[in-house]
């Protein structure tokens, strides 16, 4: 299969690519059509998913997820792994990583990083992403009709490289007062993420992929990223490809966001653009995010906020976390449950208009979750008592 693929690509991509074709061929080969993951742990018809509560609003929102799943009789059991952000040893996060390797799928809250700690204390979330090689972060920003925003009808998919770039954690102080931080861009990872973006665009029937970069200044680094995107684009002639510089992109996003369809970019620009888009559709409480690797998938809120200031006050918006759990159910191929819960969430948001404080309403978190459970119950399937 790889031999035929490489042969097929050689005339398209040109002789001189050689090595690229093999790498590209390998990347495509291991994920032809829908990505194939080893089957997640499944005993007696039930799936086991790792749950990492995290800090801030994470624990309370994930409790609501568990409550909702129990109520709707979703065949998912959660293996809870706590990660203490204050401890300096990496045992906690390593346990969590081991649990995810075991189960294949995880749902997590954000683990806070205290940035006054010394540099050898790495961000726990970052460690998780790089150890499990969750190379693609996917975020689908859609305007919800029930939410008041300045821009309407936004529908943008953002794909962000999740493991390298500026987040490589390679810094050194050569001389006191002079610090260098390395941003690493590799051909393999750039090809991989570009391929993921184009395949997703094709699967979802999207028509254009825009690469976001700063190659006019970082000629080698972002230049390599852009070149890889162009190479992959040539293999998808049905999808239009263009590129835009990151500062222009943010300017266009706040004035004309409807020109964007699917966007692919390296790590840091992904951070900026995904937060801008989340703000455009209504805030951090509404958008779910997914981190996909070859073998594992971890679901969380898209903007990864800890929400310390609103923790334990019953005012956090559960929508993002609940929609993330629906993405997880889709990943586990439990589509009926996913659609049922998603439908109930959207009905609460758009028809009942029960909103939490962050989107201008006055509901509490528990009221929103109760409303969702009532809608599910009235929908018909057998549920437990409210």
């Amino acid at each position: 299969m790889m031999a035929t693929l490489t042969k097929a690509f050689k005339p398209i991509l040109g002789r001189q690519l050689g090595n690229t074709a093999k790498v590209f061929g390998a990347a495509v080969n291991s994920q032809r059509g829908k990505p194939t993951y080893p089957p997640p742990a499944k005993y007696g018809g039930r799936h086991t998913v790792t749950l990492i509560p995290g800090d801030g609003i994470g624990p309370e929102l994930l409790n609501h997820v568990r409550e909702l799943f129990r109520f709707s009789c979703v065949p998912v059991d959660f293996e809870v792994v706590h990660v203490n952000s204050a401890s300096t040893s990496e045992d906690d996060i390593n346990n969590a990583i081991m649990a995810i390797r075991r189960n294949g799928v995880a749902l997590k809250g954000n683990v806070e990083t205290n940035h006054t700690m010394p540099p050898n204390h790495k961000s726990r979330n970052n460690l998780l992403r790089t150890s499990l090689d969750l190379y693609a972060n996917m975020m689908h920003c859609q305007s919800l009709p029930g939410v008041q925003t300045r821009h309407k009808n936004i529908d943008i998919i953002i794909i962000r490289e999740n493991t390298e770039g500026e987040y490589s954690n390679l810094e050194h102080e050569s001389v006191s007062g002079v610090v260098e931080s390395l941003k690493i861009i590799t051909r393999n990872n750039s090809l991989r993420i570009a391929d993921y973006a184009f395949r997703l665009a094709r699967d979802k029937g999207r028509r254009r992929v825009t690469a976001v970069h700063k190659a006019n200044i970082m000629k080698l680094g972002d230049g390599l990223f852009l070149q890889c995107c162009k190479e992959v684009a040539s293999g998808y002639p049905d999808i239009e490809f263009d590129s835009m510089i990151v500062d222009n992109t943010t300017m266009q996003l706040v004035s004309k966001p409807h020109q964007f369809d699917v966007m692919v970019m390296p790590n840091l620009y992904g951070n900026v653009v995904s937060n801008v888009c989340a703000g455009l559709v209504g805030g951090p409480g509404l958008v779910p995010g997914a981190n996909y690797g070859r073998d594992y998938a971890v679901f969380e809120t898209a903007t990864r906020n800890t929400g310390k200031s609103i923790a334990n006050r019953n005012i956090a918006n559960p929508t993002a976390m609940l929609l993330a759990s629906c993405l997880m159910l889709d990943h586990l191929k439990l589509h009926d449950y996913a659609n049922m819960i998603r439908g109930a969430i959207l009905t609460t948001m758009n028809e009942t208009r029960l909103h939490t404080v962050d989107i201008g309403g006055q509901g509490t978190t528990s009221e929103v979750v109760q409303s969702i459970m009532r809608i599910i119950q009235s929908g018909g399937p057998l549920t437990t008592e409210i």
Partner: protein, 366 residues
């Protein structure tokens, strides 16, 4: 009079009356000479517009026009022409129009060359919503101060092995301290209540950590200004939802580039955004950050607002607040009235009509 003293400058478009006025000011030492770099494309016409408006406002400014196209100096290094450098060093203040960066000219970007020549370490962009030019965001009033010399734009990149590239982001304590000091000075001089440092120290612990530490140290000396720190992603998220919560933002190069353009987008784009670059030794160059627009060059269709607002920023920097307020109010009034707007602002008037309207308003204010 200065006219007999130096062969280097000349007065542009001056009528007899204001010539006498200038003479008076020169005699009493109040007139200030500013280096003007018209630039390319629409540069010359918008520079002329600004000069006309300043003349109508009777601002005590004398313009010294210079060209900054790079020439090859001794030793093969590209540099700006010596007359331009000499003029800037003497006057310390400059106003620059858009410069075209030719692709195959062999010399580096002119903006980069200017930055290096005068060590322009701070890029300041005040973003204020313009009444009359409607955008979805109506309550923006913030200033972005960006470190302009190092950070992610140091240009230090290596190909390690085939397929692996590293870009180096350089943060030094000295540059961070300098930009933080400028930010707090600016806040104090312009009655701004708070300064927010934007960073990503959770991920880039050492580099942004150093930047933050220096900001904190400088904040100790400016207790009258409130200092806060915020992650870059949180700033982006909150900026598009509620920009009114931000005041002065200080940050390293890349974040500054992205955020300053984001804020420009909030108020209507680069065609209405002023910008200033502050250098060491008191040098300051104010510029319009839009492009040269070669398609409308010479057709009297250009919008001089960006260059005009940058010139107003320049007046404030020089302490001439009265003239600055007068010209700015006239400009905003013209835009608010919506009678003589240029094409990019939604009207179909010419640049000269727009300029004339502002001149009339300025004269009426006296």
């Amino acid at each position: 009079m200065k006219a007999v003293c130096g062969p280097v400058w000349f007065i542009y478009n001056v009528q007899f009356g204001s010539f006498v006025n200038l003479v008076f000011c020169a005699l009493f030492g109040q007139i200030k000479t500013v280096t003007l770099i018209p630039g390319d494309g629409i540069g010359p016409e918008i520079s002329t517009a600004v000069m006309k408006i300043f003349e109508a406002a009777k601002a005590p400014i004398q313009w010294e026009e210079r060209n900054v196209t790079a020439i090859k100096g001794p030793g093969g290094r590209w540099m700006i022409p010596p007359e331009a450098k000499e003029s800037m060093d003497k006057n310390k203040i400059g106003l620059k129009g858009p410069l075209k960066t030719p692709i195959a000219a062999g010399h580096p970007s002119m903006n980069l060359l200017l930055r290096k020549t005068f060590d322009l370490y701070a890029n300041v962009r005040p973003c204020v919503s313009i009444e009359g030019y409607k955008t979805p965001y109506t309550d923006v009033d913030l200033v972005t101060i960006r470190e302009n010399t190092e950070g992610e734009y140091s240009g230090i990149e290596h190909l390690i092995v085939d397929g692996v590239v590293q870009s180096i982001k350089l943060i030094t304590g000295e540059a961070s301290r300098r930009i933080a000091e400028y930010a707090f000075e600016y806040a104090r001089n312009n009655q701004r209540a708070s300064v927010t440092a934007v960073h990503k120290a959770n991920i880039m612990r050492m580099s942004d950590g150093l930047f933050l530490r220096k900001c904190r140290e400088v904040a100790e000396n400016y207790k009258d200004v409130k200092f806060t720190e915020m992650y870059l992603d949180t700033v982006c998220l909150n900026m598009v939802q509620d920009p009114s919560q931000f005041d002065v933002l200080v940050m390293p190069n890349l974040y500054g580039d992205i955020l300053s353009d984001l804020c420009a987008g909030l108020i209507g784009g680069l065609g209405v955004t002023p910008s200033g670059n502050i250098g060491a030794n008191g040098v300051a160059i104010f510029e319009s950050v839009h492009g040269t627009a070669p398609d409308i060059a010479g057709k009297d269709l250009a919008n001089p607002t960006a260059l005009l607002l940058s010139a107003v920023m320049m007046l404030r920097h020089m302490g001439l607040h009265g003239y600055a307020n007068k010209i700015e109010t006239a400009c905003f009034d013209t835009i608010r009235e919506k009678k003589v707007l240029t094409k990019d602002l939604g009207g179909n008037s010419k640049c000269s009509e727009f300029t004339a309207d502002i001149c009339r308003r300025v004269q009426d204010m006296d």
